[in-house]
Amino acid sequence: MKIVVCIKQVPSTNDVKIDPQTHNLVRSADGVINPFDKNAIEAALKLRDQTNGEVILLSMGPESYRESLLEGLAMGADSAYLLSSRALGGADTLATGYPLSQAIQKIGDVELVLFGRQSVDADTGQVGPIVAEYLNVPQVTFAEAIDLTEDHHLIGKRRLDAAEQEVEVELPAAVTVRSEMNQPRYATPRQIQKSFEKPLTVWTEQDLDLDPERIGLAGSPTQVTQVYAPAAAKKRVTMLTGTPEHAVQELLQSL
């Protein structure tokens, strides 16, 4: 059984500032695997071990995303694909989901596609459902648990807004994974060594059957018109003083 895990590389911290002169984002150069995507990799590895399957990582982004793919291979994935070229750059979620879904089709016979519930930098959680739609497969979003059944189905538990839901889908299917599902494993030194020998293939838009109007900046319906720091909605704090009893008294009088 082939399982594809879509992973994104994100900055190692969200402590991002705006340069007051250039108005550009100042962010740390180090990238890490989006934390929720590690839960997706972990889920894939567990299912693979039950079914003798194959875990394939897929990411779209600059060359530097290799680092995260290597890290995922070191966790135990079998192979990786990176979609990388200038033409694919500047994509919003729609223009990200499209090449990813075409790559999944090219990989072929993929039965399960896993995503993180959302990326911690863009924070949208849209790419999973978009890919599911393009592949025309059922989606289980915000999954807390998944199990395979013998007859080629998957049972998933989702947490909704005021309810818990159990669903059954026929494979192939797409699942977005919550961090509650598992605890991602660490790479062992032996696995890290092995990761460099595993296949990591780079595809450009030429390797995929893509409509040029639907990729990159041109294929992105949304545009960012401004980037700025949030208005500091800081409050003016009144400090309470003295013993806790006194402070509580002061507080209750003012409230």
Binding site: N14, V16, I18, L25, D92, T93, L94, G97, V120, D121, A122, D123, T124, G125, Q126, V127, P129, I130, A132, E133, V137, P138, Q139, T141, F142, R158, R159, L160, D161, A162, A163, E164, Q165, E166, V167, E168, E170, A173, P221, T222, V224, Q226, V227, Y228, A229, P230, K234, K235, R236, V237, T238, M239, L240, P244, E245, A247, V248, L251, S254, L255
Partner: protein, 321 residues
């Protein structure tokens, strides 16, 4: 022809209307200028949510009725919505940034090949263009996003950012939509169990006692529960406390938890990490107690006390009536 209406998706959590949908109706009316506001309701015949929706003043309620909407998959909902969007061509389509909204909207977006902005904190019109304010990098950075060339302009909007205001509209017209329900044969909903929702009570609560890692002793937790009971409030926690089996993820406040909007919030032993404070921006009055006078939480507070959380709780329990 493009219809200039603003659509709001009415999310049903079983038989209840998701409060964010009503908040969005109010917001849509505020920014609409002359554009009509439509509530889009996918409803089983056992329900009649129209009367409640009408209280929030939309110009139209577009009703899609089918009993299978009582438990429909994201694909089934998206398919039905695609049919009505292509019939009416709305200017924009707003969804709650809830689990349900964030699952459904992107699926519909891909069908419609349009833009979708996630988890917006504000919306405004510049002519016909919807300017969508979206936080990124854990709310550290804001972006204005537009979708200039395609319609509808879609956005999911964070719960409890806007207040729902009742402005009953006796002119609200209920329109029955023509559509075909296409069952998704590859997916079955086995069961949906309503959670005796701490989530709902936390995001709706008027008083919240929030506990952090500096208020995690059993005694402190017990005192907080007593105080909450006495004040008719509920207990919420920061992320580290959800490792304690007596708290669940539903009680977590913050970026990856709930947004709260109480009249009074008391933070005990909470440092004030940005991932936490984004969840409390809509609290009316904030009181924070921390042993560290330099804790960032004080910058987000109306009242602060440098001292021990447990002792402060004891003081409150003794003096609150």
């Amino acid at each position: 022809m493009t219809n200039e209406s603003i659509w709001v998706y009415i999310q049903l959590n079983q038989d209840k209307i998701e409060p964010t949908s009503l908040q969005l109706l109010t917001k849509a009316k505020q920014i609409a200028e002359d554009k009509p506001v439509w509530a889009i309701l996918l409803e089983p015949t056992t329900l009649t949510a129209e009367a409640t929706i009408q209280q929030y003043g939309p110009d139209n309620i577009l009703r899609l009725r089918d009993d299978r909407f009582a438990a429909a998959t994201d694909e089934e909902l998206a398919d039905a919505l695609e049919q009505v969007v292509t019939q009416y061509n709305p200017n924009s389509f707003l969804f709650p940034a809830t689990t349900a909204g964030r699952s459904l909207a992107p699926r519909l977006q891909a069908k419609l090949q349009t833009g979708l902005t996630a988890d917006c904190l504000d919306l405004a019109f510049d002519g016909d263009t919807l300017v969508q304010v979206k936080p990124t990098y854990g709310d550290n950075i804001m972006c204005d996003i537009i979708c200039p060339d395609r319609r509808p302009q879609m956005a999911t909007v964070r719960p409890n950012i806007f207040k729902a205001v009742r402005v009953p509209n006796s002119q609200t017209e209920v329109v029955s939509a023509t559509f075909t329900f296409h069952p998704e044969t590859t997916m079955t909903i086995l069961n949906t169990t309503r959670l005796i929702s701490q989530t709902a009570s936390l995001s709706d609560a008027q008083t919240v006692i929030a506990l952090g890692r500096g208020a995690n002793q059993p005694k402190t937790i017990e005192l907080a529960r007593q105080l909450a009971a006495k004040m008719g409030g509920v207990v919420g926690v920061t992320r580290p406390l959800t490792d304690d089996p007596q708290f669940t993820h539903d009680q977590q406040i913050g970026q990856s938890g709930q947004t709260v909007a109480p009249d009074l919030l008391i933070n005990l032993g909470i440092s004030g990490a940005v991932q936490y404070t984004v969840g409390i921006q809509n609290a009316n009055r904030i009181v924070s107690v921390n042993t560290d006078a330099t804790a960032p939480i004080f910058a987000d507070s109306d009242y602060g006390y440098v001292g021990d959380a447990t002792e402060f709780l004891e003081g409150l329990l003794a003096q609150v009536k």
